[in-house]
């Protein structure tokens, strides 16, 4: 769900990047965050809550609220709403607190 036509803005998307989400191949663009790339691909559930395992999406998109934390390249608790996408990233849904590997 990317905006292609806009009355005010034009979006110069960067180079196409490849990454995986829970092992599935995905594409995004250079200069966008992991959460934005996932949302554009229709992925809204980014994590499961600590105790009740309820689905979590992003909420603030500026790194304040910690609702978008995911496991990125094996590292848990990455705030995906402010972390830029890189080629070859492995992005996974975070279940609970995550584990340091």
């Amino acid at each position: 769900m990317r905006i292609t036509q806009h009355p005010i803005l034009s979006f110069d998307r960067g180079k196409e990047l490849h990454f995986t989400f829970n092992g599935q191949p995905m594409t995004g663009y250079e200069g966008e965050t992991i959460a934005a790339a996932l949302h554009a691909a229709g992925v809204k559930v980014l994590a499961k809550s600590l105790n009740l395992h309820r689905p979590r999406g992003f909420y603030c998109a500026i790194g304040n609220c910690a609702s978008c934390q995911m496991v990125v390249d094996g590292e848990p608790n990455v705030r995906t709403c402010i972390t830029l996408l890189r080629e070859g990233m492995r992005v996974e849904t975070q279940e609970g607190k995550g584990r340091i590997q």
């Binding site: 769900m1 990317r2 905006i3 036509q5 806009h6 009355p7 005010i8 803005l9 979006f11 998307r13 966008e32 965050t33 934005a36 949302h39 554009a40 809204k44 559930v45 980014l46 809550s49 309820r54 689905p55 979590r56 999406g57 992003f58 909420y59 603030c60 998109a61 500026i62 790194g63 304040n64 609220c65 609702s67 709403c81 402010i82 830029l84």
Partner: protein, 360 residues
């Protein structure tokens, strides 16, 4: 440990204007910005600003950020901007600890500090308010205006203040259907000109309404709204269901200023300024000499007042460090006049009351 003259935390409208003002007086400035790009929330504001020319009225916020950054370049190496750098601590000896690129951790000691850290979006309590698809209105603005990604197909906006109404209009511009805009208050909080634009596009604004619950399993699928009475209590039998995949929460902002509280600056809860704020002089100086505050971190207002406060704080902080320009008093009076103008009239009544309560 790096030692420097003036540290500005935050590169939104307040921080950038503070840096311009201080550098113009001759101070050496370091600006810390936690995001990967400067400009704060200006970078997603596609609407034109109101107010006077001095606060860049009739420019779009996104363009104002560019204008301010260009101005900063005039001061060459007197100003350094460090992005991806979060101030995480502020200690008694004026040491600020910084986390850079999420891995490098170091200390900075500044003679003077201007805290221009902005605000955060408030949330609203209702059943299932944690479902993915329910986002802060500012978050949706970031997603669509910065990254060009649609938040969904059909949205319910909760809050008819300026942000709620402006973001609703921007959602329509991005091709998203706005099912309705709600507000618990009996009348629209936004400026009429924004609300009218939205009404002309056919989006209904429902006053005295709130969200009763959100419905969905993995993501938001629908929302039930209901009318509230004059004591903001739900009126039974008035429920309406909206099938929406996005809900935006726009129920106000709170000042983000924990760093000042950590430093020991005297704080006070002032409802008119939307949260806990530092006590300060008319020159934006807190109870600790050399520590200043500007913008939403000192109380929720608008970008135009954040800019005027930034200019004032930058001027005064630089002067206290010995960089006193010839026209110091004239400029100080000019910024104070601008702020008075922005806070005048019935719209500024709350802010004026808040200013009195937080004055040193």
């Amino acid at each position: 440990m790096r030692e420097l003259e003036l540290l500005i935390i935050g590169s939104g409208p307040a921080g950038l204007c503070a840096a311009i003002s201080a550098a113009a007086s001759g101070a050496r400035v370091l600006i810390l910005e936690r995001s990967f790009a400067p400009g704060g929330q200006l970078i997603k504001q596609t609407h034109m600003f109101f107010g006077s020319e001095r606060q860049y009225a009739s420019h779009r916020g996104v363009d104002i950020a560019g204008i301010l950054l260009k101005k900063l370049e005039e001061y060459g190496d007197r100003v350094e901007l460090m992005c991806n750098a979060t101030a995480v601590g502020f200690y008694e000896d004026n040491v600020v600890t910084v986390l850079k690129d999420e891995k490098e951790y170091f200390k900075i000691k500044a003679k003077s500090v201007i805290c221009a850290t902005g605000a955060y979006e408030k949330s609203l309590a209702f059943p299932n308010n944690d479902l993915p698809g329910i986002y802060g209105a500012g978050a949706v603005q970031t997603l669509m205006n910065v990254y060009g990604v649609k938040p969904g197909d059909r949205v319910l906006m909760v809050g008819a203040g300026n942000i709620g109404v402006i973001v609703s209009y921007q959602l329509l511009q991005a091709g998203v259907e706005v099912a309705a805009v709600l507000d618990a208050a009996p009348k629209i909080g936004a400026y009429l000109v924004h609300a009218s634009k939205l009404a002309r596009m056919g989006a209904p604004i429902l006053c005295s309404h709130t969200v009763k619950e959100a419905i969905g399993t993995d993501c938001l699928e629908a929302a039930v709204v209901c009318r509230v009475d004059e004591r903001f209590q739900p009126v039974p039998g008035t429920e309406q269901r909206f099938d929406v995949d996005v809900m935006c929460i726009s129920v106000g902002l709170s000042p983000l200023n924990e760093l000042l509280a950590m430093r020991g600056v005297e704080m006070k809860y002032v409802p008119q300024l939307s949260g806990s704020v530092p006590l300060r002089t008319e020159n934006c100086e807190t109870c600790i000499p050399g520590i200043y505050v500007a913008g939403d971190a000192s109380g929720i207002e608008e970008a135009s007042s954040a800019m005027a406060e930034g200019y004032l704080a930058g001027l005064c902080a630089a002067a206290a460090l010995g960089h006193v320009p010839e026209d110091y008093e004239a400029r100080r009076q000019e910024y104070l006049r601008q702020l008075e103008g922005l806070r005048s009239g019935p719209v500024g009544e709350r802010i004026r009351a808040g200013m009195k309560l937080s004055a040193l």
